[in-house]
């Protein structure tokens, strides 16, 4: 079964490029360049995965994510961006995106990331893993935080490998665990990222008026 994908990006050239790269790997069910049409079309066509850019005229990518998740909660989002600013990335993840990859990703890697998100897993680029480690820094010495506000040692290990450029499979081999376990850890981290009240995350979210 091919994954049905919707592309949201305000650069025509980039949308065309993504569609060409994904040709034959997934089924593209539509694309949009603005926030409002994107919301309407995604809700109507119900793709498995929507690729979403951070910066969009008329509200930003997180507006689309929040709105669609309200109207069609079964659609999953993968953030695809040139931006490497922590605030942008965290804003999209906190709005509900299940992963973040940068735009220099290859077609094959992107298709793999899309399939992973479609299957309900989380996709972390090395950079996102770095952000998370930074935001949850201090880790264990940091008492007074709830369970949601810190990473387990295993989760930190997994994230460090992803930040180093390891794939999930390589990380699993390195740590002597199964790839499925790696995915479980990453999904748990994603959940913490979305729900945690950690000061750094709250600050980022506030700067984007997400809470």
């Amino acid at each position: 079964m091919t994954v049905r994908v919707f592309v949201v990006d305000d650069h025509d050239l980039f949308r065309a490029g993504v569609k060409a790269e994904l040709e034959g790997r997934v089924e593209i069910v539509g694309d949009a360049s603005e926030v409002q049409p994107a919301i309407e079309m995604i809700v109507e066509r119900r793709p498995d995965v929507a690729l979403i850019d951070v910066h969009m005229p008329g509200g930003g990518g997180w507006t689309v994510v929040e709105e669609v998740r309200r109207l069609a909660p079964d659609v999953r989002f993968l953030a695809l961006s040139v931006s490497d600013a922590a605030t942008d990335v965290i804003a999209l993840i906190r709005a509900g995106a299940r992963g973040y990859v940068t735009k220099n990703i290859s077609g094959a890697e992107l298709a793999e990331a899309i399939e992973r998100v479609a299957a309900g897993d989380a996709v972390f680029s090395p950079r996102l893993a770095g952000f998370v480690l930074d935001a949850f820094g201090g880790g264990l010495a940091d008492t007074g935080h709830s369970e949601l506000d810190q990473l387990t040692p295993r989760e930190r290990e997994v994230l460090r490998h992803i930040a180093r450029g390891y794939t999930y499979r390589e990380t699993a081999a390195e740590l002597g665990i199964s790839a499925k376990t790696v995915e479980t850890h990453v999904s748990a981290v994603l959940r913490k990222l979305q729900l945690s009240n950690r000061r750094e995350l709250t600050r980022w979210a506030e700067s984007r008026r997400l809470i």
Binding site: D84, P126, A129, D134, G137, G138, R160, A163, R164, G165
Partner: protein, 412 residues
Amino acid sequence: MTSVGNRRMLPFRRRADDHLLGGVAAGLARGLGLDPIVVRITFVLLAAAGGVGVVLYAAGLLLLPEEPPHQRSTGDDVIRTVGIAAAAVVLMGLARAAEVSLTRAAVWAMVLMAVGALVLWRTAIPEGGDARPSVREVLERVLSAGRGEGDRTGRARTLARIAVGVLLATSGFVAFVTLSSSAGAIGRGLLAGTVAAVGIGLLVGPWLWRLASDLTAERRERIRSQERADMAAHLHDSVLQTLTLIQRHPERSDEVVRLARRQERELRTWLKDPDGDMGAGTLTQRLRTVADQIEDDHGITVDTVFVGDTRMDEDLRPLLQATGEALRNAARHAGVGEVSMYAEVEADVVEVFVRDRGSGFDTTRLPADRRGIAESIRARMSRAGGSAEVRSEPGHGTEVQLRMPGHGGDGR
């Protein structure tokens, strides 16, 4: 303003939308062409003076028909009414403190002043939230000749309002001071002074407030346009130059990639820190500089991920050099266009990982020239009290791991 055309035999309608209680005051005010707040305060004062106001209001509630809604908020009026009432209470308190017995006439003089102040106030700050005209616009409306019919009516209305306001306030003031006859000379002087000060504050305050906020807005606009100019200058110096270069030599693809990559890097740095004063001399910044150099020299991309940071010092220099060496190795021998660098600064250790997905090699059977480099990385690190490990496998790329213990990071 729309009320003028709507007048019928009986111009009074209760307002369904613009009401604090039953919309009687607002309806009357509209019929009379007054501000609702004036009528409201009159009602309140009449109610206080023997309850006449309550009876009148009740009558209005029963007799006046209701008018269809009209969009307008009452928030401002509520605030203003409360403000005026508070001012009145303060005035009465002051009068009592100055041992002035307030005659009924004096109270009416105060009402006169308050109504005058209100009218002026309302002229300075028209209703509606954000769509408030600036002082200049109000002055223009008052002073300049209006172009259209509507403008002229508006101007006459504004002038009339100001005249009425000043007249009411002044006569109220004079009457009040004259009527407070029972006080001694000092008390009266004090009272007159206070009332005059409060009155002037009430009259001029809104205008001054408006002027101040206008000036702030103007300054903000000036700063914004300055920022725009700075950004334009920067883009011109950097991005446009690069684009020109690229257009001139489109056939040299490696050079184009290099130029584009360098420009991207520069632009990202500038976007994060336009003044270039942040993080100067930190470890991650120096690592990025090393990576930039490799990118320029070898035409590859180095993806960097940093966690935490620390101030750069001499102890960390070998780490920096070893990282550069590892990157150069990857660029020369891996045969791929992309190398990842990950640096993590923790409380007791700094670690750097340089990884490529290139050809790799058998670490047990190194070619002579490669062994030297691996040794130089290792030797350099161990001399400085750190360690280095090179992991590689043919076909699976290479990773160089560098550790430098005992170096406290200072914050993430």
